[in-house]
């Protein structure tokens, strides 16, 4: 299977307030079509690892290869294109543009990519919203939607450019259990029905156990790994 992301001897330090070795010599590959979860207690470096793998944080030591390209070698311009074209993000706090409608939020990455004319893009965005069951909320401003609906909008946004991989940072962390279940099932559905690659950080074992693969992190080290 094809590697989407590969980390080699990945080390990460925090220098403030005191020097702290967060990630310790991590070797990890994520393969195409995988639904993987990074799990571990809080403070073990889960999110930090996700940020480093997802190109958000490039102040690491070692290598992170995305499609065999080392992230540090990219210019800001190319990095932006990579994020736009090949990466989708879903965060714990929904991170939508509050002044825009749900539909506009979903369309934004597509507008930037500019591969589709606005009309077709709009149609595609509607399809994505429909897929997530919130097509009826499309014209509402996002700050009028419930937490679960907002998170579904951000999933739709992550999907719009059909990325190679979607990174989720505690996607269900801010939702009640019912909504959390709905959102998780949708993510899982994406991996099953559409062969979407997803790497997710979560501290909730009930969710992580339903993924293809759990990457156990403890004190910045991968302690247990099931290879698929």
């Amino acid at each position: 299977m094809k590697k989407v992301i590969e980390a080699k001897h990945l080390n990460k330090y925090f220098y403030k307030p005191v020097e702290f070795h967060v990630l310790k010599d991590i070797d990890l590959s994520i393969y195409s079509g995988e639904f993987a979860a990074i799990v571990g207690p809080s403070g073990s470096g889960k999110s930090t690892l996700l940020y480093a793998l997802s190109s958000l944080d490039r102040e690491y030591e070692g290598e992170v290869l995305f499609n065999d390209v080392e992230l540090k070698t990219l210019t800001n311009q190319k990095l932006a294109y990579l994020r736009n074209r090949s990466i989708g993000f879903i965060f714990q706090f929904h991170y939508l543009l509050a002044d825009f409608t749900a539909l506009d939020n979903v369309m934004l990455p597509g507008l930037k990519l500019g591969e589709l004319p606005p009309e077709e893009l709009k149609e595609k965005a509607m399809q994505k919203l429909d897929l997530l069951g919130i097509a009826d909320q499309a014209m509402k401003k996002v700050n009028r939607l419930s937490g679960g609906q907002q998170q579904r909008v951000s999933i739709a946004r992550a999907l719009i450019n059909e990325p190679r991989i979607i990174f989720c940072d505690e996607p269900t962390g801010n939702l009640d259990s019912k909504n959390a279940m709905v959102v998780f099932d949708m993510l899982k559905n994406l991996t099953r029905e559409y062969d979407q690659t997803i790497l997710m950080v979560t501290h909730d074992d009930s969710f992580s156990s339903k993924t293809d693969r759990q990457i156990q992190l403890l004190d910045g080290k991968i302690i247990d790994r099931e290879t698929p």
């Binding site: 958000l56 994020r83 736009n84 993000f89 506009d104 934004l108 500019g114």
Partner: protein
């Protein structure tokens, strides 16, 4: 690259924070309004004055400078380097300010292709009397047809006509202020007494109102012949030659040429009105300082509002960057917002400035200063409007660029991690 996504973001930002947008637009609007209004009024007044001045003073004036005093004769005897010479109270030589060969000079001047009009004249102080009123004034002896060609006297006549100066024996045209002080109206007979004691009965054949108060209060016109009679001099006696040129900008050059050619002082109109022009220069500096400080203030307003907006929009910036918007995109978003604020605010400012100027220009003001005018003359030169808009855009562009640059430098990881 598709510009549309940025525009969409810009418009959403601007419309979702309407009050902020309007407040910062008002800053620019106010600056531009003041710019247009102030520049219009000040330069309008200046243009009005210059036009009046050009119309009522000669482009070049040739005369003999009476105030040039001859150096004391003692200097011929003693060497000034070795000896202190002090001669108090030097008196002017008893010498008439006559232009010798004056009429020949007029003929020569008329043959210049650049000269469109030449008017020889002489002038004298005189006391004008009507009943018990007596007022001192200046009598200009002119060839009224030639003088009219230079100064368009006909247009400024409020009663009577200039031609009657030729047809009526002993005719006189009075300035409006002079006539009012005397209590004289058309066809009154007045007595004019010269400093030499010659008295003439003259008939008022016209009243003239140029709008330049100083002239209207002092000046009277008569024929050359009558003025010579008053001064008790011969028929070839003239003291001044006034010249109008085809191109007023050439007045300085030609004045120097005439001065060296004829040996008399030749003064161009700018030199003659030097005091006024230096006042104008100071006025202009003050005007521009006021405008610049207002634009500076509105620039700071925009700077503040954008800086605050960027602080509020940290999340948005982080999201946009994480979904693939580049540093340049982010910078352009905020820069474009500033420029749109500047452009729309500026346009409204131009409109309000225009309306203010227009209202001012149709309200009668009856200004009585060194020029009198029923309405304020306001300059509606489109160049000002263009300049104001460019000024506004540059100010907002600079004010917007700095926060926009800062926004583009935001690293999304710092925002995301801090949640």
């Amino acid at each position: 690259m598709n510009r549309f996504p940025i525009l969409k973001i810009v418009l959403t930002h601007l419309t979702s924070r309407k009050r902020q947008t309007i407040v910062s637009m008002l800053g620019v609007t106010f600056g531009i309004t003041v710019f247009i209004f102030q520049a219009g009024v000040i330069t309008g007044l200046q243009d009005f004055f210059i036009e009046k001045t050009i119309n009522s003073t000669a482009h070049i004036h040739i005369y003999q400078d009476k105030n040039q005093k001859s150096p004391p004769v003692l200097l011929d005897v003693y060497d000034a380097d070795k000896t202190w010479i002090s001669v108090p109270n030097i008196k002017s030589k008893e010498e008439l300010p006559k232009l010798k060969r004056g009429l020949q000079i007029v003929e020569i001047l008329e043959s210049y292709p650049e000269v469109t009009g030449v008017s020889p004249s002489l002038s004298t102080q005189a006391i004008l009397k009507l009943g018990v009123a007596d007022i001192s004034g200046i009598i200009n002896g002119v060839n009224v047809r030639k003088e009219n060609r230079l100064f368009d006297l006909e247009q400024d006549m409020v009663s009577g006509s200039i031609i009657r100066l030729e047809t009526v024996n002993n005719g006189i045209i009075l300035g409006s202020g002079l006539a009012e002080s005397l209590g004289a109206i058309l066809n009154d007979n007045i007595t004019v007494v010269s400093p030499g004691g010659v008295a003439l009965q003259m008939k008022v054949v016209g009243i003239l109102d140029t709008g330049l108060r100083d002239l209207d209060n002092n000046r009277a016109y008569s024929s050359i012949r009558n003025t010579q009679k008053l001064m008790n001099v011969t028929g070839s006696y003239i003291t001044d030659i006034k010249i109008k040129l085809e191109n007023v900008e050439r007045s300085g050059t030609l004045a120097r040429e005439f001065q060296s050619r004829f040996g008399y002082t030749a003064e161009d109109w700018k030199e003659a009105n030097e005091g006024i022009f230096s006042v104008f220069r100071i006025q202009n500096i003050v005007t521009y300082l006021v405008i610049i400080s207002i634009l500076l203030v509105s620039g700071f307003g925009i700077f503040n509002i954008l800086s605050m907006m960027i602080y509020e929009k940290m999340n948005d910036i982080a999201i946009l960057k994480s979904i693939g918007y580049t540093d340049v995109d982010i910078r352009n978003v905020f820069l474009l917002e500033a420029l749109i604020i500047g452009f729309i605010g500026g346009l409204i400012g131009l409109l309000i400035g225009f309306v203010f100027s227009w209202i001012t220009s149709i309200i009668p003001t009856n200004i009585e200063g060194f020029v009198s005018s029923e309405y304020l003359n306001i300059n509606f030169d489109p160049a000002f409007y263009l300049l104001a808009l460019v000024f506004g855009l540059v100010a907002t562009g600079i004010a917007g660029y700095l926060p926009a640059k800062k926004a583009s430098k935001i690293d999304p990881i710092n925002i995301i991690r801090s949640q």
